[in-house]
C-alpha cells in the first residue's frame, strides 16, 4: 500500500467546479477500448502483469475454510509453472496482489497463506458489506476485528447516504463499487474517477489508488482496464500499490490465454487447475 493520503482541508469548491459531460465520457469510454490493443508477447506480458493486480476474491455466503484455502493457493500459484517457464517468467514470483474475503474468513485466509509460505496480503471487505447500512459503532468494530485477525487491507463500504447529501469522506484507494450491485465497474464511471484521482494528484501531490470491482471476467477486459489506467493516469499508476482489480473468475481466463499464447492451442477445461 502506498503512503497514506494525509488529506487536505476540505474544499467543496473543487467538487462544485467539476464538470462531467455524460455523452462525451461515454464516447471516450468506447474509444479507449477500441484504440489500444496488445498482441503476442506484449499481450502475454500485460496479462501476467494483470495477474499481479488482482485481488483474488471470494465473497459468497457459503464460503468455508476449504474454498478459501484453495483460493489462497491459487493466489500464490496463479499461472501454471511450466507456462511461466516457457515465458521465462518463472523466477518473477508472480502472485496475485491480495486475496479478498469476508471478515469471518480472514483467519482462514491468513492461516492458508502462512501454510503456503507467502506474504500475500489479506484484504477484507468490512463495515456492513455490501450495503454499509449498519451502525458506525459496529462498522468500526468490524474493521478492528478483521485487522486483529490479520487483514492488512480493508475495503470500506462508504456511507452512501452521506455522499448523496454531499458529506464526503477521504480515502487512500477508491473502488468503483462493491461488485454486488446490478451495475459494477464500467468504463465511463472509471474515467470520471480516474480523472478525479489525477486532478487530486495535480493539486496535492497525493496518489490515490483505484480498484475496479465486479464484472471483470475476461482477459480482454483486463487488458482494456490496464490500457485505460495507462492512458488516463500513466504508467506510474500501474503497480499493485495503486491499482487493483477485484475479480474471482478473471484469473482462469488469463491463464487460459497464456496457455494459448505459449502452446498455440486452446486449453481444455481440465488443463488448468481450478481456484
Amino acid at each position: 500500500m502506498a503512503a497514506h493520503n494525509l488529506g487536505t482541508e476540505l474544499d467543496l469548491s473543487w467538487i462544485s467546479k467539476v464538470q462531467v459531460n455524460h455523452p462525451a465520457v461515454l464516447r471516450r469510454a468506447q474509444q479507449v477500448q477500441a484504440r489500444r490493443t496488445v498482441k503476442k508477447e506484449w499481450q502475454a506480458a500485460w496479462l501476467l502483469k494483470a495477474v499481479t493486480f488482482i485481488d483474488l476474491t471470494t465473497l459468497s455466503g457459503d464460503d468455508t475454510s476449504s474454498n478459501v484455502q484453495r483460493l489462497c493457493y491459487k493466489a500464490k500459484y496463479p499461472i501454471r509453472e511450466d507456462l511461466l517457464k516457457a515465458l521465462n517468467m518463472h523466477d518473477k514470483d508472480i502472485t496475485t496482489a491480495a486475496v479478498c474475503v469476508y471478515p469471518a474468513r480472514v483467519c482462514d485466509a491468513v492461516r492458508a497463506l502462512k501454510a503456503a509460505g507467502c506474504n500475500i496480503p489479506v484484504a477484507s471487505v468490512a463495515t456492513g458489506f455490501p450495503a454499509g447500512q449498519t451502525h458506525l459503532k459496529t462498522r468500526l468494530e468490524e474493521i478492528r476485528l478483521a485487522v486483529e485477525d490479520g487483514a492488512t487491507e480493508i475495503d470500506v463500504v462508504i456511507n452512501r447516504s452521506l455522499v448523496l447529501t454531499g458529506q464526503w469522506e477521504g480515502s487512500d484507494f477508491i473502488k468503483t463499487s462493491t461488485g454486488k450491485e446490478t451495475v459494477n465497474a464500467t468504463f465511463p464511471v472509471a474515467i470520471v474517477m480516474l480523472r478525479a484521482i489525477r486532478d487530486f494528484f495535480w493539486k496535492t501531490g497525493n496518489k490515490i489508488g483505484f480498484k475496479p470491482a465486479g464484472g471483470i471476467r475476461s482477459a480482454k477486459d483486463a487488458l482494456a482496464w490496464l490500457s485505460l489506467i495507462k492512458e488516463e493516469l500513466g504508467d506510474e499508476w500501474l503497480k499493485p500499490e495503486l491499482f487493483r482489480i477485484g475479480a474471482s473468475t478473471l484469473l482462469s481466463d488469463i491463464e487460459r490465454q497464456i496457455y494459448h499464447h505459449v502452446t498455440g492451442r486452446y486449453a481444455a477445461y481440465h488443463d488448468l487447475p481450478m481456484s
Partner: protein, 794 residues
C-alpha cells in the same frame, strides 16, 4: 499437455516496462487484390476495367515504406469522354426506374461492401496511411449506412420528392487528401435520386476503384458509377463533356475558386466543399477533459483531413493547456496498419505543409509544443499545438493544416463569436459548455454549416453536412444532400452558353451616359424620384438619371442612375437591418408580408392599368403564401446511436442581392422578394430594366411598413449594377435573371467570396406559373441549412 516451445523472449522486459507493442493488421488481401490487376490499375468504366494504351502512369506507394504497390494510369481526355458516355447511356435506364428498384440496387451494394470490408479497409489504410482503426470502425460502417439510408430515400422518392427530377450525369472531383468515404457521401444521394456518376479520382487511390469494381460486379446497371484516375487538372475536361449536368468538387479553397472561374458560363451546376479546417470553442463552463478528447477527435485521430482552430476562454487557459499537453504525450503515431496507433502518416505533401506552417508560425512569434510517441523516421509528423500566434500575423489568417491545433484565448462568449465568425471559413465547429443557455446561444450564432454541442466530428447519413461562406455551400447527407442532385421537373437541360470573348475586366464597367429625351408622358402620380435605400428614396451618387420608355416607345419618365457607391450604401443598409430581421419570429415576418400584400391590393387598380394581367393579384398571393411557408422551417432529425436530437435549421443567407428579370416587372420582383424576406434575408434588388416603376411603387409601401434597410432597390444600368453586386465581397448570395453574358459574369465573379449564385443563363421563366414562380426551389435557395447536434445525458 506440457508447454511447448513457443517462447517469448521479450516478455520479461515488457512485463517491467508495460509498453505497447506493434499490433499489425495483415494487408495480404490488399496485395492479393492488387495482384489480380497485375499491380497495374486503370480506370473502371461501365462495369469493366479500362486500361488504354499509351498513357502515363504514376506509382502508388506505401506512404510509410515508400514501397511501390502498383502503377496507376493517368487519364487523358478521351478516357474521360468514354466514362461520361457510359454514364449517359446508363442514365436512360437508371433515371426512369422506379425508386424501389434503385433502392434494391443500393442495398445490394451495401451488402457487397460488407462482404469485402476487410479488403476495403486494409487497402484504404495501406495506401492512405490513415489509422486502420478509423477506417475499419468508422468509415466502412458509415459507407454501408450511407447506402442503406439513401436506399430508403430512393424508396420514397416518388412520393416525397414529387415535382423533382434527377439532374443527369454528375461529375465528381475528389482531391488526393480525401478518403473514399467523402466520395461515398456524394455518390450515394446522386445514385439514389437517379443520377449516374463519373468520379475523377486522384491517381494512386485504389480504394475508390475497388468500390467501383464491387458495384460493377453486381451485374446490373454497370455504367451508373464510373471511375477515372487522373489529376484534378482534368476537372474542366470532365465538366465540358456534353451531358454532364453538375460538377461536385471537394478540395482546397483556391482550387475551388479557380474551378468556379473556369466553369463560369458553361451552363452546369457547380457545388463546392472547400477546406478542411474545423473550430473548437472551449468555455470556462466546459468539461475540460472531455473537450480535450474533442480536440483529439478533431485533429489527432485520423478522422478529419484538416487542422483545428481552438478558442479557449482565458480563465481556463492554463488548465486546458496542461491537460491538453498531458494528453498529447499519450498519443501514438505510427504505421496506419497498426491497430493501436492514433495517427498514421499522410505522405510527404501533408507533412511538408505542416512543417512549413509550423516554421512560419514560429518566425511570427508563436510557441510550438509537440509530443506523443512518434517514430523518428521521416514520413510521420507529430501532434502539434501552436499558441501565442499573434492574431494579425499572416499565419493566423491561413487555414490550419493537419495535424496542427492553433490555440488562442478569448475573454467573453461575445468575443469568441466575433473571433470564430471573423474568418472566411464556415465549415464545422464544436461548442463545449455545460451551461445550456450559453451552449445554445453559441451554437445558434456560430456561422458554420455544422455545430456540435459538447462533441466533435459526429456524422450520420441522415444529418446534412456542409458549410457556408468560403467553405462552399454544398451539402451531403439528409434531405439537403438529395436536392443537390435534383432539379424541378421540366427544367431545361444544360445548354452550353459560353461566351468565349466575354471580357470580365470590362463587363458592365462603364455606364452609358443618358441625356434628356423629350417630354415625360408618365402619370403625375409617379413614385418619388430616387433610389430606395435604407428605407427612403435618395438621390443617386452619380446625380444622373436614365429614361424609361413605355410600351409604345415614348418617354415614360426618368429613374435614378445607380452606381457602385449606391450599391455600397444599399449593402451597408441591408447589413444594418439584418440582425433585427433575423431576430423576428417567422410569424412576425409573415404578418409584415401580409401587411405589404394588403397595401399592394390597395394599389391594384392603379397598377393593373399599365401592367400584365393577373400580375398584381398573383403578387399579392405570393407575399401571403411565402409568409405562411416561412412558418414551417427547419426540423429535428433522429440519429442512430445518438441520444438527443439534431436540429436541421434553415437560416437566412444574409444580404441577398437580386437582379430581377426585365419581364413581369412587378410579379417577378415580388416573387423573388417574398421568399427572400420570408426566410429572414435582407435584400438589395435591381428591378426590371425596362420597367422599374412598379417596383419603386411597391417601395412606397415598403417604406411605411417594413424596417428601414430591409429592402433596398437600386435602379440603373443592369450590367453595371450586376458587376458591383457580384464583385461585392459582403454580399452573401446573388440571384441573377438576365442575359447569358450577365449570368456568366456573375458565376465568374462569385469566386471572390464564393457566394452561392443562382443564374438563369438568359432563359425566360414562367413567373405566372406556380411551379416556376413560387415553387419549392425558391425556398431552398433562399435559406441555408445548418445542422446543430445536441447530444444529451445527465
Amino acid at each position: 499437455m506440457a508447454a511447448a516451445t513457443r517462447t517469448a523472449p521479450r516478455a520479461r522486459e515488457i512485463f517491467t516496462t508495460l509498453e505497447y507493442g506493434p499490433a499489425p493488421e495483415s494487408h495480404a488481401c490488399a496485395l492479393a487484390w492488387l495482384d489480380t490487376q497485375d499491380r497495374h490499375l486503370g480506370h473502371y468504366v461501365n462495369g469493366k476495367w479500362l486500361k488504354p494504351e499509351r498513357r502515363n502512369s504514376v506509382p502508388c506507394q506505401d506512404p510509410i515504406t515508400g514501397e511501390n504497390l502498383a502503377s496507376c494510369l493517368q487519364a487523358q481526355a478521351e478516357d474521360v469522354a468514354a466514362a461520361v458516355e457510359a454514364a449517359r447511356t446508363a442514365l436512360e435506364n437508371w433515371s426512369t426506374l422506379p425508386g424501389a428498384r434503385r433502392a434494391q440496387h443500393l442495398t445490394r451494394l451495401a451488402k457487397m461492401i460488407q462482404k469485402h470490408q476487410r479488403l476495403l479497409w486494409t487497402l484504404e489504410s495501406l495506401v492512405t496511411g490513415r489509422a486502420v482503426r478509423e477506417v475499419r470502425d468508422r468509415d466502412v460502417p458509415l459507407a454501408q449506412q450511407l447506402l442503406q439510408y439513401h436506399a430508403v430515400q430512393a424508396h420514397t422518392q416518388e412520393e416525397a420528392l414529387a415535382g423533382w427530377e434527377p439532374m443527369g450525369v454528375i461529375g465528381l472531383i475528389v482531391p488526393p487528401t480525401f478518403s473514399f468515404l467523402e466520395m461515398m457521401w456524394r455518390i450515394c444521394p446522386a445514385l439514389a435520386v437517379g443520377c449516374t456518376v463519373v468520379v475523377l479520382v486522384p491517381p494512386a487511390s485504389p480504394a475508390p476503384l475497388l468500390l467501383a469494381q464491387l458495384a460493377g460486379e453486381l451485374g446490373s446497371f454497370p455504367g451508373i458509377l464510373n471511375m477515372i484516375s487522373g489529376p484534378t487538372s482534368l476537372g474542366p475536361v470532365l465538366a465540358s463533356q456534353p451531358g454532364v449536368q453538375k460538377v461536385a468538387f471537394c478540395g482546397a479553397v483556391e482550387e475551388g475558386r479557380t474551378l468556379r472561374r473556369t466553369l463560369a458560363g458553361q451552363g452546369l451546376e457547380l457545388s463546392l466543399a472547400l477546406g478542411a479546417e474545423s473550430l473548437l470553442l472551449l468555455t470556462e463552463a466546459a468539461d475540460v477533459d472531455s473537450a480535450v478528447e474533442g480536440v483529439v477527435d478533431a485533429t489527432w485521430s485520423d478522422r478529419s483531413q484538416g487542422g483545428l482552430r481552438l478558442l479557449i476562454q482565458e480563465s481556463v487557459w492554463d488548465e486546458t493547456m496542461t491537460r491538453l499537453q498531458a494528453r498529447m504525450g499519450r498519443l501514438r503515431v505510427g504505421r496506419g496498419l497498426d491497430g493501436a496507433v492514433d495517427m498514421g502518416a499522410r505522405g510527404a505533401a501533408a507533412r511538408d505543409l505542416a512543417q512549413r506552417y509550423v516554421h512560419e508560425a514560429q518566425s511570427q512569434g508563436a510557441q510550438v509544443f509537440q509530443a506523443g510517441d512518434v517514430p523518428s523516421d521521416s514520413p510521420f509528423y507529430p501532434p502539434t499545438l501552436i499558441s501565442d500566434l499573434p492574431p494579425a500575423s499572416p499565419c493566423a489568417q491561413t487555414e490550419v493544416p493537419w495535424p496542427l491545433v492553433v490555440a488562442s484565448p478569448f475573454r467573453t462568449a461575445k468575443e469568441a463569436l466575433a473571433v470564430a465568425n471573423g474568418t472566411p471559413r464556415g465549415g464545422s465547429a464544436s461548442v463545449w459548455s455545460e451551461r445550456l443557455g450559453q451552449a445554445l446561444e453559441l451554437g445558434y450564432r456560430l456561422r458554420m454549416g455544422i455545430v456540435w454541442i459538447n462533441a466533435h466530428g459526429l456524422r450520420d447519413p441522415a444529418v446534412p453536412t456542409g458549410g457556408c461562406k468560403e467553405s462552399g455551400s454544398s451539402w451531403h447527407g439528409g434531405p439537403d444532400g438529395l436536392y443537390e442532385y435534383l432539379r424541378p421537373s421540366g427544367t431545361p437541360a444544360r445548354q452550353p452558353s459560353l461566351s468565349e470573348n466575354l471580357n470580365y475586366d470590362t463587363f458592365g464597367l462603364a455606364v452609358p451616359s443618358t441625356l434628356p429625351a423629350g417630354p415625360e408622358t408618365g402619370p403625375s402620380s409617379a413614385p418619388p424620384y430616387g433610389l430606395f435605400v435604407g428605407g427612403r428614396f435618395q438621390a443617386p451618387g452619380a446625380r444622373s438619371s436614365r429614361p424609361i420608355q413605355d410600351s409604345h416607345g415614348n418617354l415614360h419618365g426618368y429613374v435614378a442612375e445607380g452606381g457602385a457607391k449606391d450599391i455600397r450604401g444599399a449593402v451597408e443598409a441591408a447589413h444594418q437591418a439584418a440582425p433585427g430581421w433575423v431576430g423576428q419570429s417567422p410569424g412576425a415576418r409573415a404578418a409584415l408580408l401580409g401587411a405589404l400584400a394588403a397595401a399592394l391590393e390597395r394599389r391594384e387598380s392603379a397598377l393593373a392599368a399599365r401592367l400584365e394581367r393577373h400580375g398584381v393579384e398573383l403578387s399579392v398571393r405570393r407575399l401571403r403564401a411565402w409568409g405562411a411557408r416561412a412558418q414551417a422551417q427547419g426540423h429535428t432529425l433522429q440519429v442512430a446511436e445518438l441520444r438527443g436530437p439534431v436540429l436541421r435549421l434553415r437560416e437566412p443567407l444574409g444580404v441577398l442581392a437580386i437582379v430581377c428579370p426585365d419581364e413581369w416587372p412587378l410579379l417577378a420582383f415580388v416573387s423573388l422578394l417574398a421568399p427572400a424576406l420570408a426566410h429572414g434575408n435582407t435584400v438589395v434588388l435591381v428591378p426590371s430594366g425596362t420597367c422599374p416603376i412598379p417596383a419603386l411603387e411597391v417601395c412606397q409601401d415598403v417604406a411605411t411598413l417594413l424596417p428601414a434597410g430591409l429592402v433596398n432597390v437600386v435602379t440603373g444600368d443592369r450590367d453595371h449594377l450586376t458587376r458591383c453586386l457580384a464583385l461585392h465581397q459582403d454580399v452573401q448570395a446573388l440571384w441573377y435573371f438576365g442575359s447569358v453574358q450577365g449570368s456568366q459574369f456573375v458565376e465568374w465573379a462569385s469566386a471572390g467570396n464564393l457566394k452561392p449564385v443562382w443564374v438563369n443563363r438568359g432563359l425566360p421563366r414562367a413567373w405566372d406559373q406556380d411551379a416556376e414562380g413560387a415553387g419549392p426551389e425558391l425556398g431552398l435557395r433562399a435559406a441555408q441549412t445548418k445542422a446543430l447536434w445536441l447530444p444529451m445525458g445527465d
